[in-house]
């Protein structure tokens, strides 16, 4: 990676923080109205061990939820991609399910599996993030040009050979596009559950305790920590995309 590729986003983040700091300073906001970046530093220093523990809990539950979403979403996408009937049958259900605000589902799930905090959190992360994956895989498979199929079928290849050699790799760019959306969605899901659940864990619970104790800089610090985790996971996906679907990227210009 070139220096430029690292420097540009870092400079952009620094500029953002400076503007934020300046805005709070110029407006003269107290930190309970709007904390500034300089308020966050003491919050991180004071609670660094909590941030590590809670951050890890949020991260692993999000990643597990995302992995389940990948497996389930890909399987569902395959079913809908290969069968027109299944596509017609499942799309309305899927769209309807996705249209339900997950914030309303959180208390239902929390009651349904009361006490199973890890399970609930993973479940919501999964529920909120599988939709883009399922849709992209199904579209990728159903729009496979018939010639691609014919070129292998005319040689006597089986359906599964066609899937592994052509359909799957050809769908990867769409899949990774969807995964980038799903990553951020999964974080939203995890945090919804962490904030709403009594005796929750993770960064969401830390946010909630900041609220209870009127520690406003802590609340902002949690938001920034979440943003940081989101960025990290996003770039993990970008790196995987480079490895598995780097061919789809054209040289710019």
């Amino acid at each position: 990676m070139k220096l430029r590729q690292i420097a540009v986003p870092v400079i952009a983040i620094v500029i953002f923080l400076v503007l934020w700091e300046a805005l709070v300073w110029v407006m003269g906001w107290p930190n309970y109205k709007m904390a500034s970046p300089s308020d966050l530093v003491p919050a991180y220093l004071r609670y660094w061990n909590l941030f590590l523990i809670m951050g890890w809990q949020t991260l692993w539950r999000t990643v597990i939820g995302l992995l389940v979403a990948i497996v389930f979403g890909t399987a569902l996408g395959m079913i809908m991609g290969f069968s027109r009937t299944m596509r017609d049958a499942l799309y309305p259900l899927l769209v309807g399910f996705n249209a339900i605000p997950k914030a309303t589902v959180v208390p239902i799930i929390a009651l349904m599996f009361v006490g199973l905090h890890d399970f609930n959190t993973v479940l919501i992360a999964f529920m909120i993030s599988f939709f883009p994956i399922a849709v992209s895989v199904s579209i990728g498979l159903s729009t496979l040009e018939p010639e691609y199929r014919d070129i292998l079928r005319s040689l006597g290849a089986s359906q599964s050979t066609i899937f592994w050699k052509i359909a799957l790799p050809k769908t990867l760019p769409e899949f990774f596009g969807a995964l980038k959306v799903s990553v951020t969605l999964a974080f939203i899901g995890t945090n919804l559950m962490e904030i709403v659940s009594p005796h929750g864990r993770g960064l969401g619970a830390l946010f909630d305790s900041g609220k209870t104790n009127s520690d406003y800089p802590l609340m902002f610090a949690v938001l920034i920590a979440l943003a940081f985790l989101g960025i990290v996971l996003y770039y993990v996906v970008v790196a995987l995309e480079k490895v598995f679907a780097g061919w789809a990227e054209r040289a710019p210009g």
Binding site: Y148, I151, R153, G156, K165, K170, W247, R250
Partner: protein, 264 residues
């Protein structure tokens, strides 16, 4: 000698919302071993259906398709196909694209021999030096040449070309016609070429078959006298002009434009 490809009395209809749509009706076609037949006809007359029948990708409602004395009922690895869309696998290099059929078809060649054969074919079509490039780095004509190599790599008995040069510009197309002749000299095959281009049909094929409008039957057959290698100049001879004129006339009949007197 029996013909390598024989199509006897084939009828086929597609099921549509408004009832069956007959596309082929009494199609007869035979291609001797090493022969190269071009099939021309109006748009939508069932030419592509014909290629799918020969490739065993579908079965006709009635009639028989024979390949090398065997009735075609399912896909067979002795067929190579190239389409108007070169269908390159973008995630593979050109070399790996060409080698794709060898991953499906049983082969006695070792990995090294497979690669050697793919490289040899790429050199034959003038793509030496592009083996490790991605398809997206190649022009349309080059992709089509790679597609041709892929269709030939497993030494198929029959090469089916479904308008392979249709999307190329005129000069690139002429280049590829000449490459086809070079390839056929080194790698003999029995070919069926579907095309809309009458000049292409007489330049490449030994026999041109005109199909009637839908539902298609064999309407007219023209033998192209062949004596050794052909050059593009051949297209500018009076004989070629006569052939083109005859074919043009037959196409008009197939399109139903000249009325009853033309059928005499």
């Amino acid at each position: 000698m029996t013909d390598l490809i024989q199509i006897k009395g084939v009828r086929h209809a597609y099921q549509t919302a408004t009832g069956p749509l007959p596309v082929l009706d009494g199609l007869e076609l035979s291609v001797p071993e090493g022969g190269f037949v071009a099939v021309v006809g109006p748009s939508g007359c069932g030419k592509s259906t014909l290629t799918r029948l020969v490739a065993g990708l579908m079965k006709p409602d009635q009639g028989e398709v024979w390949l090398h004395g065997e009735r075609v009922k399912s896909p067979r690895s002795t067929v190579g196909m190239a389409f108007q869309n070169p269908v390159m696998l973008e995630w593979r290099t050109i070399l790996k694209n060409v080698m794709l059929p060898l991953e499906i078809v049983p082969t006695k060649l070792s990995k090294a021999q497979q690669e050697e054969r793919a490289r040899y074919l790429l050199e034959l079509v003038g793509l030496k030096g592009f083996e490790d490039k991605r398809p997206s780095e190649l022009s349309g004509g080059m992709r089509q040449r790679a597609s041709l190599c892929r269709a030939l790599v497993h030494q198929p008995e029959v090469l089916i070309l479904d308008e392979p040069f249709g999307a190329l510009d005129a000069f690139t197309r002429e280049d590829l016609w000449q490459i086809m002749h070079q390839v056929k000299a080194k790698e003999p095959f029995t070919g069926v070429l579907i095309t809309h281009d009458l000049r292409e049909s007489i330049f490449l094929a030994d026999q041109v078959v005109v199909l009637s409008g839908r539902p298609a039957r064999t309407q007219f057959t023209l033998d192209v006298p062949s004596d050794g290698p052909r050059h593009l100049d051949m297209l500018y001879t009076p004989e070629a002009a006569d052939m083109l004129h005859t074919l043009r006339h037959q196409i008009e009949i197939a399109q139903g434009r000249t009325g009853a007197e033309a059928l005499v």
